[in-house]
Amino acid sequence: MKSLLATLALTTALTLPGLAMARPVTMTTTLNSYGGDGAYLALYVTDPSGAYVGSLWMAGGKSKYYKHLSDWYRLTGGDKAQVNGITGASVGAGRSLEITLDLSDALFDAGYTLHVDAAVEDMRESPNEIAVPLTTENAGKPVRGRRYVAGFTYDM
């Protein structure tokens, strides 16, 4: 009886943390008023060695333009399956995209980096517009992009 109780207590202790292995993370990307059409944005994650891990969001629904998100395209080979179910509309100049995703806790403080690639019609491509290490310390701290992104933050 006592061993059964101990086993049950152990299994409960082991499985309960599993329920808390993900948390909602809100990512806000505010664009400059660059005076062009809507921007395509690819948000994706690389591991400590720089290898592609996965995509978090694709702003822009036409896959034929994905080649202009050049880093994302190079890392994924333009595989549309990478962004199935996490794709939305492109983002207009001066506007702000706010995405809330249920993300694995294992992504934070483990050497992963979140990248944003940007591209605008008839304007210059901006691969790696943002590259921010995913740490609890960086949460809530705005990061400025290189060309189109006025500010990017993630809040947990």
Binding site: L5, T15, G18, A22, L56, K64, G85, I99, D102, V120
Partner: protein, 124 residues
Amino acid sequence: MRKTLTLLVATTALTAAIGLPAWSAMHTPANTGPAPFAAVFDDAAQTLPLILASDGDDDKDRHDRNSSRRGHDDDDEEEEEDDCDAEEDDDCRSGAGNPAPAGTVAPPQNGLFGNGTPPQVKVN
């Protein structure tokens, strides 16, 4: 004592039922198919109807101006895109080949997402 035991049994069953599929889904490498426990959910996800994207936000302008996103030197590619204007074939109209929009299918099992709240998006 019996009450404690009952409570532990119930919590174990509950956490195992919820936690195992979540854990399984989160640890499946990308493009390797569903994990054993996550397969329960994946089967259901695959039966969802595919709703093709129709983001008419700026496509008309794009086609009318006979230009592609970001100027590049590959004329063949541009002509290929422009074919959509001229022929209006099924591929061009249906948006075939575009990824499924958020909310129509589950996010990819790339180990980044939990099984909690589906993606929410807002543009201000």
